[in-house]
Symmetry: C2
Subunit: 625 residues, 2 copies
């Protein structure tokens, strides 16, 4: 069945009914008895009661002597009281309080005397004595059911005589996959198993031969017999879906196909008695969303973890989101904190884009019927990165370059705990983010087509009242990427106008597109006649790849892209890649720390190692506005 024909149902409805179905089928936590010493991080299956009191008798809380307080009631500096050996008892911390004694006097207050001791002060009854049951009473409930066991609880259980404890058994989740499954590069199981382990489940893999219907059925049957829940990975694309559907309906019941969420829409939910079966899309991002939204709650029920603790503060959206009205969409976002406000910026949204989940600091849900949010809207974000960590991240919004990654790495290595949170929205997007006070730093490289200069004109125009500084970062070599050995013998940009040269451009509005147009003007080339000026590639790699494959002869690009594809590079000019920093961010310790790193020898070395840049004085204020 094709995706568009799935009868998708709202997420909450599906989840509520599905969980109810599973509970009705008998899904619940099961117990496992383990040693208390290894129970940290587990969840209690039932209430734990103290077997003995702590302390289990009155005990001494200091090193010194134990005695009856009545004996020294009248002691004073002027009239010390002498006690003979049979009226006190030397004790160490933790000793049981000797019979007949009701207090302990610290050893430094005890004066040795022949055949006994002298005391110059009275002692209060129960002084330096831990009374029986002071910490824990025998029979007292130490931990309720379904409670996370922390290190101190391990100590308290052992101290009060509890040696073993019933905990919720970790649910075993089978992952059924066709052999060689997973896009890209068979890595789905690695992601899924890491997520399952993270949630406290034990993943187990079942590979089902070539993925024919019989294979799938056999693998599902085996997984059901050995696991508490089964995930069928990659069975909901048109190719493999039928086999998955038949296997589930043969060995159990199909509850629903299609959920109104994006990504993750073609999910299949079923069960065999108390055991859930989830058919999930093969794209990792879809798979992650379905597991988070459906399976995580099931693992929590099975694992006895009843609390769903998500931090979902409000945040300002720094780039609009357009969303499908028929779906709940889960948008991965970068997050950061600027001027005390949380700011989020959406990442790429394709469901194959696994890097977007890697980079994500949070998830913004766009509900059904909403259609999206405009820039500046206050939205709720479920944070994946702890809030405190976000406070230590410099929000970098603008045109991304790999030198910013190197800068980020050097900051991490400096040991101050600062980092960069970069969003790639282009140079103009960066300027707008600074204007809206949604970023600390904007990397920009804007060519003024009037003068051929960089950045200054645009900053002046957008910040007429000033309040920002333009800081030098690096010069980026731009040039022609051509085939290995430069078979066409190109020497300068002007040569691309020669007849027969197949040029490849980037998309309209990109810096490379604008640079190409300007260079054409400079060299008197009519863009209408330039073969390939309108051929727009959306990634830097794809332009270079076209040349590597022989489909095109030349593209404007960076040295690094040529290098990566083993192509030749003819330098044409140098782009000025600068950092725009508002005065409001300037004095922040993390920004100062970034400027320090920028000016360091380590940064120069890193940039030189990447190659394709010229380095002047990184960190120098080029102009103050």
């Amino acid at each position: 069945m094709a995706l568009s024909q799935l009868a998708t149902r709202p997420l909450e409805e599906v989840r509520t009914e599905y969980y109810a179905l599973l509970r009705a089928g008998g899904m619940k936590p099961s117990p496992e008895e383990i040693d208390v010493s290894g129970s940290c991080g587990r969840v209690t299956f039932e209430a734990v009661y103290a077997r003995s009191s702590v302390p289990d008798s009155h005990s001494c809380a200091m090193d010194g002597v134990a005695l009856a307080s009545e004996d020294v009631r009248r002691a004073s500096e002027a009239a010390p009281v002498f006690l003979s050996r049979e009226r006190y008892c030397p004790v160490s911390t933790g000793d049981r309080l000797p019979d007949g004694c009701d207090c302990v006097v610290m050893e430094e207050d005890v004066i040795e005397a022949p055949d006994g001791i002298e005391l110059c002060r009275p002692a209060a009854p129960w002084q330096h004595v831990r009374q029986i049951g002071e910490d824990v009473c025998e029979g007292e409930m130490l931990l309720p059911s379904f409670t996370y066991i922390r290190p101190a609880a391990v100590g308290a259980m052992l101290a009060s005589g509890v040696g073993s404890v019933l905990v919720c058994r970790r649910p075993v989740v089978g992952v059924v996959e066709p052999a060689g499954a997973g896009t890209p590069a068979g890595c789905n199981y690695a992601i899924l198993s890491a997520m399952l382990s993270d949630w406290g489940a034990v993943p187990e893999r079942f590979v089902c031969g070539d993925g024919g219907p019989d294979d799938i059925r056999r693998a599902l049957g085996e997984a059901l017999s050995r696991c508490d829940a089964v995930v069928m990975s990659g069975f909901t694309s048109a190719g493999g879906e039928t086999g998955g559907y038949e296997a589930v309906s043969g060995l159990g019941t199909v509850f629903c196909r299609g959920i109104a969420i994006k990504p993750g829409r073609p999910a299949l939910l079923g069960c065999s008695g108390p055991k859930p079966i989830l058919g999930i899309p093969e794209y990792p991002v879809s798979a992650i969303v379905v597991l988070e939204q459906i399976l995580k709650g099931i693992i929590e029920i099975l694992g006895g973890n009843m609390s769903h603790t998500f931090e979902t503060p409000e945040a300002t959206l720094s780039k609009s989101i357009i969303s499908d009205e028929n779906c709940r969409e889960f948008v991965r976002v970068r997050a950061g904190s600027v001027d005390g406000r949380l700011v989020v910026s959406p990442l790429s949204r394709g469901s194959g884009i696994v890097s977007s989940f890697m980079k994500a600091d949070g998830i913004v849900e766009v509900p059904e019927g909403c259609g999206g949010y405009r820039t500046g809207t206050q939205v709720c974000v479920r944070l994946l990165t702890p809030r405190q960590e976000l406070e230590r991240m410099i929000v970098v919004t603008g045109s991304h370059d790999r030198v910013m990654d190197e800068l980020s790495d050097l900051m991490k290595r400096s040991g101050r705990g600062y980092g960069l949170s970069s969003s790639n929205v282009g140079s103009m997007g960066g300027i707008m983010a600074i204007r809206r006070r949604e970023a600390h730093v904007a990397p920009i490289h804007l060519l003024d087509e009037e003068t051929g200069g960089y950045n200054t004109y645009f900053v002046k125009k957008n910040f007429p009242k000033g309040g920002v500084r333009l800081v030098e970062c690096v010069g980026r070599l731009q040039g022609l990427i051509v085939q290995k050995g430069n078979p066409l013998g190109l020497r300068s940009f002007a040569d691309i106008a020669a007849g027969g040269i197949r040029y490849v451009n980037r998309q309209k509005g990109s810096g490379t597109y604008i640079l190409c147009r300007w260079l054409c003007g400079k060299y008197g080339i009519d863009t209408a006649l330039l073969r390939g000026f309108d051929r727009e590639e959306f990634t830097r790699m794809s332009a270079a790849a076209l040349i590597a494959s022989g489909e095109a002869d030349a593209a404007l690009g960076a040295w690094f892209d040529a290098e990566m594809q083993g192509l030749d590079f003819i330098p044409v000019c140098e782009e000025q890649y600068d950092l725009l920093i508002p005065d409001a961010s300037w004095e922040l310790p993390m920004v100062q720390s970034m400027l320090e790193v920028l000016g360091s020898a380590a940064f120069r070395e890193r940039v030189a190692a990447v190659g394709g840049y010229s380095v002047g004085e990184p960190g120098r204020i080029r102009e103050r506005f």
Copy 2:
């Protein structure tokens, strides 16, 4: 050296200088190469770069046919375009885009025709194609140094050809203990090792015979040769300290003895080259504080975890704290959220009280020179329980009884994720907490000595304007706890006045003390003549224990305390244990859920199983004010 003679230094100063000393000695993270598939939860040692692009060629994002978009530019419903077999290519999701094609048409838009297909719509270039490098570009930095590896990062690394990764080796921390060490009951290692594992370290135990100086030295030497850091547990009490000090100064350098913190003051810090050596007190609470304040940061440095992420919101203190001016004190607190405000209440503060750490939801630091905080002060609290979980906790402040533990357990088991956060401050303390709007529920049992009735009088007096409800919970049997077999043949409370009977009382102001005074009045007993009326025990267990040991004959108490000590119980009267709930909390779903559980058969069964209670109609509103 005695505790009071230690030259204690402020925490921050000690920490800064100690870390600097260790870094100067060469302390730093060390690398370990592991498979990416097992790297989730680890921390990168250096930046990770993509080995290949994702996708590594243009690839199909849908099942359907690939073709050249130019071929169908003019297709429409009215004039479908026919393509012969050599002009298109059937493809599945994930396939490499065939040469000569630049788009994919979904299979549902393809009409089968003899010897080819027909299309009724044009296709845009790059439609349903994932361009090379769209997700990840070869050579791109995937993760900076010292970054926590999440499941999605595992997927991104594998997808981009990274099979193994350098991560920070988990630091090995040796724990040196005398044989049979640890107060109470040798459980220190269990707590310490659980904490160390929790922080990402690998604990290893070294037991040093009988704990003589040579043994300690030998064990320390072995630990230093095998570990990255060494903790000497229980060597700072007067008894064992000298050996510990000698061992550290013999095999390394002592940096400082005594830190101005409480608990944890007698800590010893030293090192052997880059390896830290910590001598920590034997009391678990002191040990926990020293490790948290000193060792956790060291493990973070060694483990490459540069971010210290503590959530420290503001909270209202619901009970005053008096603190030592010469120390930074770390006070364990219960926390909860009432009317949107975070409220914290200090737990027992003895350094032997391991249960206080088990119960703690957070830590309040009282700085040096401060002396403490009054009730109502806004303080910063470092949360140990996630904020979201606190929002689901009913704050119960008042007189604690074990039926409240059973109630808490039943609520956990009901699966709604609600729980109780109980602080034991006595009945009057509970009433005050409700007046200050710092609790949702106050369990009270206040005897009106005028009438012999319970609770109503005190509620009326404290809430003249009403706004609260008194809810029935249970009746608590109070009686005389006497020796097994009741050898003195006591039959009623009046009998305790008989000559020779040794009575034991509880502390002044306690409910039991007041009940005793009232019963004396009722039975015409002169308290001045009652032997033992002034003998005040501070815990329920200690009163019962005195009788079990034969030191006393009778105490007023609960049935359960007699039962636990195997003593006899003579019922005297019944205390009314009610719940006071303000109208502001009444409608909260969690409070309603509690009332439901209170009225359930399960609650009755639990109370009956504990024993010593009478159950009427729990959950019934006794009176509305």
